[in-house]
Amino acid sequence: MINESGRIISNLKIASNIWRLDIQLPQIVAKRPHPGQFVELLIDRSFAKPLRRPMSIAGYTADVLSIIYKTFGEATRILTTKIAGDFIDVIGPLGNYFELIEDDYSTPVLIAGGVGIPPILWLHQELNRQKQKHFLIIGARTKAEHFITPDNENTLLTTDDGSLGIKGTVIPVLKKIISNVVGTRIFACGPEPMLKSIQKIALATKQPAQLSIESHMACGVGLCQGCVIKRRNYQETEHSYQVKYVLVCSDGPVFKAGEIDFD
């Protein structure tokens, strides 16, 4: 991991509440990050918001790294005020990534929602580049939240209210694909309830699934022990350490569906 101060190339609103930030970060990009990895941005100059903010890498070109972010609270609001030419302090690349194990039969199914969309979109681009057939399902509550246009018939958008694409959540779409396609591998990133449902289906249908999860991170680099999630099958012992819990920032953020327990 590298701590680098990057010059902002552009910071543009690309949809309602969604912004794309391009930062020149030659050293971090030289590490050739993978989809699923993230960076930690130092956004607030004052100490009102003392902690960095984790953001998935949405891709890179030459020496420029991209982030796609949604405005939530104060830090992301401050982020929208940064302009080309400003510098921003970034630590990365952090965490593990989606493993694209080469096999000749199973079809990747990529699923994303909310702030989980950027890394999955990047993975989608990678698979396109590799000319590997795959499905991409993106869920949202309503039309306004969608900011991509499907590039082929295997990209499926859903909205809870039916205002765009298929009405409902991503789950029925996933189920249908699993039952129509022989052998799938799932790659998902999004809100916890979505990941939980995907986990359930993946385990029930025995489809391998990699889930990228979020947790509250104070440091993002393994120092604070704050970002834990429970393992799914652990040997309960009287005294243990890192048997029951794993660190999302360092052991994740990508976990196999069988590894973790959302409850």
């Binding site: 902690l51 960095r52 509250h216 680099v221 393994g222 350490y241």
Partner: protein, 305 residues
């Protein structure tokens, strides 16, 4: 950088900039992002007799100017630590102070005994009698002067190494606890550990911390820490190590003026793991420009009354 050396008990440190327990791992995780050899000392996260998983998540939340944590003393336990970590500290570029926590007096003693029974080059111990995040986490000691004295006395009898007692601000009078530690033979006290705090998400109505209460740290608590350090400085003869919200060289000077012989950087490491090293360099510049040693500033705050 000779103007930065300081002495606690018989131990000389190359500078007064330490990193606080629980905010820098074991000192071995973060080489990529800083040069630990610049630091005066690293305080390890709290080590207990048995390994501990710590509390369920959520364990941290940001607050205005700070954060709340309830890690629950997650750590590998003393035996694993001695086996896996101590060898790494062989010829380590900075001093290691082992922070010890326990749920009974016996546990503290056993952990310390185990350390003393092996050969190692650790510099000393910081005794965490003040963790607010586990029911058995020492708070019972930290708020009671008698307990503190008895525990310190026993520990003292077991080691010649530097013995620092880390104090809680969640008490009516921190100097009473500090005096008890001094009486019982501590070489120094460090202050402060976190303040008990709570955070609620007004939208989901959920507690932001699994254990409901956690420990508040960061710049928000700096004024409380400065007051504790200054009171301890006035009442104790042994040195005080300042902790609480330190993020830059100016904070470092304020803590010295309040009476600290050295200080620890905690939460600020999460924002910038290199902050300790930066403070060392800025402090050195400051001392050179002002033609003084860091220790000259100790307790030199100009008061009106």
């Amino acid at each position: 950088m000779t103007n930065l050396t300081i002495k606690i008990g018989q131990t000389v440190f190359k500078n007064p900039v330490f990193v606080a327990s629980g905010t820098f791992g074991y000192g071995t995780e973060i080489n990529d992002l800083t040069d630990i050899s610049a630091l005066g000392a690293i305080i390890t996260k709290s080590i207990t007799l048995h390994p501990r998983e710590g509390n369920p998540p959520p364990r941290t939340i940001e607050t205005l100017g700070g954060m709340i944590n309830s890690i629950g003393l997650a750590n590998m336990g003393v035996d694993n630590y001695i086996r896996d970590m101590l060898p790494l500290y062989h010829q380590f570029p900075t001093k290691i102070i082992v922070n010890i926590a326990g749920s009974t007096m016996e546990e503290y003693l056993q952990v310390l005994k185990k350390f003393e029974s092996v050969s190692s080059n650790i510099t000393g111990y910081e005794i965490n009698i003040s963790c607010p995040n586990v029911k058995e986490g020492g708070m019972a000691f930290g708020v009671n002067a008698d307990f503190t004295a008895r525990l310190t006395e026993q520990l003292r009898s077991l080691t010649q190494r530097l013995l620092i007692v880390k104090l809680s601000p969640n008490v009516t009078d921190i100097t009473q606890i500090g005096k008890a530690a001094q009486r019982a033979g501590a070489d120094a006290v460090s202050a402060i550990n976190t303040l008990v705090g709570m955070s609620i998400d007004s939208t989901t109505r959920k507690s932001n911390i699994y254990t409901t209460y956690g420990g508040l740290s960061g710049p928000a608590i700096k004024p409380v820490a400065l007051a504790c350090v200054h009171k301890l400085f006035l009442k104790l003869k042994i040195p005080v190590i300042g902790i609480g919200g330190i993020t830059n060289v100016s904070d470092a000077i304020e803590f010295a003026l309040a009476g600290a012989v050295a200080f620890q950087v905690g939460t600020a490491n999460f924002r910038d793991p290199d902050i300790g090293r930066k403070i060392v360099y800025e402090l050195d510049d400051y001392c050179t420009q002002n033609n003084l040693k860091y220790s000259d500033l100790k307790g030199q705050v100009i008061r009106y009354q």
